[in-house]
Amino acid sequence: MPPLRSPLFALVLAAAAAAQEPAEPPRFEVWHPRRPATEAEHQVAKWGPRGLPSPGYVFRAARVLPITAPPIDDGVVVTRNGVIEAIGRAADVAVPAGYEQVDCGAAILMPGLVELHCHIASETFDLNDTVHPTNPEFRTLDLIGMEHDQIRTARAGGITTALYIPGSGSNMGGFGTLTKTWGKSPEEALVRFPGSLKIAQAGNPEREAGDLGTDMMGMSEGIRMTLLDGKRYWERHEAWQAGRGEKPEPDPTLELLRGLFRHEYPVSVHTQIYQVVLQTLQQLRQELGLWTVVVHGTFDGYRLSEDLLRAGVPVAGGPRQYHFDRATGRFEGLLGNWSRGGQHGWRAPVLGLGSDGVGVNTDSPVVPQEQLPLQAAMAVRLGWQHEWALRGLTINAARFVGIDQRVGSLEVGKDADLVLWSGDPIDPRSYVHVTVVNGTICYRRNPNRPEF
């Protein structure tokens, strides 16, 4: 930098510095500009049922955490027929006649937790079918069973919604399913299919997708070619709907890719390491214009926190919760770093994704599904804000995949998915008293035989 020659020059410099420093960092918002405004306007995605019959309950707890509103001491949540009817202080909410009271004393009541990256739809670890380098014709929808061991245990861990996605054995594992963890049938439990398209950018698919080369350039090409097929199909469809051209011949695989370009659901991308996350950002979000969610965004990907903030790409982190930076000898807490931004080793300080852009995932069965809250606890240990962790487990995750109109917070009209905790929900010493899905109590703790 040249020496300061005049006060005027110094003034210009100061003004430039002030211009670079925004008064308040931009608030994170998920980028999906084409997303249909209502569920009814979705053409490809299939939404699960709402308002299924459930008894009238009044859940009372010492502290209610609605997540999107301030905590309520001695609060109640009134539910019936699958939805939340009322929420407030016990003194203020009238108990409707015939509703059963469920009072767990000094408990914490919060919305059910939302898992964004797991592979436990089926009892065996069979989600890595790899027929081609990309497999958009695969889907997890038909694999879901409500009594699989890990789904049962998930309820005991407070998880009520999960995105069951194929594994990362190939670059495109197939379409995942957003499902509740309880229902009288998989159809009743469905939240939305597709939940997302699973893409594994790198860092796993190298093992099996050898025919296009085993490195990042080759894998990128495979992902691009498949998605461009879907994009052309979507464009022909849009043209036909606008009255131009023929209706494209129906193709079930391309049909699901069409929904992706309509922003009816996101791509959830297994991506990690700075270069690979950058590739995700450039290829999927910027070049192809997809609604992009980074899942298990680990290693040093957090160095891109400001880029993702500006691109509206959220991050769910786990099962890794730290990156050991050999250059500094530090254990870098991943979710704290994604959220806060800051000085990431070799880059100038960058903005973080803040309170709204970061979530948490288990990658179960790598970390068992029921230990989702522990993932958040470990992130808090390494510097993530506790309050942000509670958001990351609920409303953030719901927003990332576009189901926040149904789940993720305690609000009147939302799904009655609740968890009553004995204490701090992310403290492994706390346990779940009761889990409620769609207004039905689907787990009650038996102290002699706790499922978790």
């Binding site: 099962p319 530090r330 606890a377």
Partner: protein, 463 residues
Amino acid sequence: MTFPIHHRALLAAGILLTLAVDATAQGRGRRGQRGERPPAPPAEAKPEDSKPAKPKVYVAITGGDVHLGTGQRLTGATVLLADDKIEAVGHNLTVPEGATVIDAKGKVVSPGFVCVLGNGMGAGRSAPYADAVNPYDPEIKQGLAAGITAFLAGSVGSSAQLTGSNAVIKLAWGDAKGMVLKEDAVVGLAAELSLGDRDKLTEAVQKAREYLQALEQFPKQKAADPNAKEPTAPPGSEKLLAVLRGDAMLWINPAGGGGGFAMFGGGGRRGAPRADDIDAIRQALATAKLFGRGVVLQKPTSGWVIPDEIAATGSMVFLSPRDRRPADPANPDRTGSNLAQAAILAQAGVPVAVTCPVGMFGGAGVGIGGILGQDLNTPQVDAAYAVRGGLDGRKALRTLTLDAARLLGVDRRIGSLEAGKDADVLILDGDPLHYATFVTMALVNGKVVYERAKEPLYSHIPR
């Protein structure tokens, strides 16, 4: 196991080197120390000794909320260390002149954590560990940051023979001599033995007992008959004698060898063990009776079904509370395992230690793999899950301290803050079992070996 040629050559060279170093530096054969008692702590200086005793170096940790490791807790107490031992713990202690005072007001003081299973952290890969430790292994700092001050390194056998090669290692950064607390601390055995093997074991125990009795009577015999021949130990009875004498702990693995592929923390068909191991546990308890002393059950599935039977033999258990096995729906009260197992066993009086789950990731080491909460980087998480399952929160610290030391047979040396024990102490910034608590300072053998503020590992993380 076969090694490629160059590996074999390296191995041979390594052994030769070890032998050479050992022989010259310590003047004894390679096996000289194996299987013997650990060296006794240095005797107190006797008054008649002409040489004046070296003045003691005192460290006083004052004002902390002191968890003794026994389940008791003293608020605002002082822990006084003299050289490498704990001199006293209590209120209103007189701090000797010249003592280094560490103010722990607003902090928690606890014994260092003891891990019943571990690897790395400065321990060598084979016996004798005294010759193989690396007191400058960076993993030692990582272990100390996790609160670990001692762990069992090496292998514990699980066959019909008594086998195992291991040592209790202390995380004495920079002090090789202070790192090996006890070689061959543990001997392993399979739970389920064939009738033939059980006969052999019974006979071997019988012969070993006869030898020990003969040995005991030998001085008297020798006095009566100067030509009396000293009894000789039955061949191959070294480990058996160590167990009978109480020099080594007998660990028994109800799961038998292997234990299956355990990528999944629970559930899943692949590698899932049987729904109960009651028969195996009962065989292990029969072995305990044969030896006349309690054994250690390694991660039993069904211990919680028969806790009183285990307690009656004086046996102990270590487990990973999160390991769960689905119950047989037809017999839910006697099959499977669940989070309550630690609580049920402890309630029956069985000492319980906890360890981390063993899976594809994590495992019984610190490492830098990043899957936090599944390995030894956060030992308190495993104790915390035992509390979730009903273990009394006030006693849960024992699963990482005193009871863990008992399972390793080193509870006279470590595991609690009591006068005379090793000065292995943690200063923590909060509740020892809280997930966010950090070790502020760790002392091993009376020396400060870790300070969070001075190490790069976690010092940048805001609190």
